[in-house]
Amino acid sequence: MEKEEAMDITEAFATYGSCVEREAEVRECVQGIVKELEKTSYSVTTILERMHNAQGVQNISKICEECREELSKVSGQYSDLQSRVPPGEYYRYHHTFRATTQRLVAATCLVTYLQEARLAPHDEVAASMGLSTRREDGFHLDLEDYLQGALALTHDLSRLAINAVSAGDYARPFQIRQFLRELHGAYSLLYPKNELRKRFDELKYALKKTEEVVYNLSLRGLKPAETETSG
């Protein structure tokens, strides 16, 4: 009787063994795709860097177009990822692509702001990355990742305010200040905690810096006429 039993165990464990192996394969495959996403994210960052140049400030719309093109790859990469992560196991691999996703959210939100002077909401960003916003759909853009990513653009904006002045564009700091104020108001509704709180504090610094630029321009009468409407 036990003989038979033992064979059953052996069989069962042979099956278990192959399950365990398959999992290791999935993990490796996921890491490979995340590397690709990482590369795209790096390219976009490199393109965006150009907006801080004197010429860049004047060519922002062109820079944004280039970014959009690069970002358009992301959708396919996430679809690859999605096809590798078994349904129901999104959170099993979440930590491996979390940081990269947040960087891509930041880049997307920055481009949207530069093109349309508004914050891209969760669903819009998710859609542009080929992702759902709903957990029920399995593979999605997690709300927290969106919220953290979107808050990561403040540093670049306050730097842009400075460089715009050097390049003679006096209107932009006023616009940026306005946007940062709105962001501040919006995030205030969330009672930010932990990681988000840190980023929120960075927003305060970015806002302070931009306010100083605006103050300095005002002091010197370098306030552009056309900002009246957006200030």
Binding site: Y191, E212, T227
Partner: protein
């Protein structure tokens, strides 16, 4: 049972009965601890919200500011009269030091919120006595009048740790004030923080590890505020004093109406 013999089954039952008693006693204490701890956690959450709401003040109109402080005042009163009173009732006739670890975190956060509110109203730091007074509850009806007054013990330690946390909030508030050009508030905060720094230094070596860590955070807050004041001074330096008001008038023209005039 004597040495060399084995305890009888009845001894076994005696032991088990004793331990059933012990178990009840332990459970009673643990349950109380758990209830106090949960209440304290709720105090923390609600106090944090009050603090956060007050952080919105820089840039608001005087009227909005007053409404906001009024709401905060009500919220604080509510925390005192519900959650903290609940803790006080749990602690009646107990050695409060036995449960202090259960409620210290909540109490500190409440003190942080209260002192923040007090500072925004009066420009001064709430006193230890005032905090203890607010958490001492008089008799509610005749029957209880004879009893010891109900209270939550506020050790100087909780008071100091709560006030130490306040410094971080003041720093955040100050940075926001620079944005909204509320210069007086910045200088006022800088002065208060410096006075507190002196106070901490006067304590000498601080044996509490907690406080030591908070001191480090406090020092960095202080430096940030000092640098904010320094940059305000630099701003001022570029404009002759009599020109300053004109500049600000111009500067404010493009502000929307919700920004306070200087």
């Amino acid at each position: 049972g004597l040495p060399g013999t084995i305890a009888s089954p009845s001894q076994d039952t005696v032991l088990m009965d004793l331990f059933r008693e012990y178990s009840k006693t332990l459970d009673k204490k643990n349950d109380k601890y758990e209830r106090v701890y949960k209440a304290s956690r709720d105090v923390t959450v609600r106090s944090k919200r009050v603090i956060f709401s007050m952080q919105r003040i820089p840039g608001l109109s005087e009227e909005e500011r007053e409404t906001l402080l009024g709401t905060a005042s009500g919220d604080l009163r509510d925390i005192e009269q519900t959650l903290l009173k609940h803790i006080a009732m749990e602690l009646r006739d107990e050695d409060p030091y036995q449960f202090v670890n259960a409620y210290t975190a909540g109490l500190q956060e409440y003190i942080e919120a209260l002192s923040f509110h007090h500072f925004l109203l009066t420009g001064s730091i709430v006193s230890h006595e005032e905090v203890q007074r607010r958490l001492t509850y008089g008799p509610q009806d005749e029957a209880q009048a004879a009893l010891v007054p109900l209270s939550v013990l506020v050790r100087p330690k909780e008071y100091i740790l709560g006030v130490a946390d306040l410094t971080g909030e003041l720093m955040r508030f100050c940075i926001k004030c620079v944005s909204t050009a509320d210069f007086d508030k910045c200088y006022q905060i800088c002065d208060v923080l410096k006075a507190m720094h002196g106070g901490f230094l006067s304590l000498g070596y601080i044996p509490a590890k907690e406080l030591y860590h908070k001191m480090m955070v406090f020092k960095s807050s202080l430096h940030k505020v000092e640098e904010a004041c320094y940059s305000l001074q630099l701003r001022k330096s570029e404009v002759p004093a009599d020109m300053l008001s004109d500049v600000f008038a111009m500067y404010d023209a493009e502000e929307n109406s919700s920004t306070p005039l200087l």
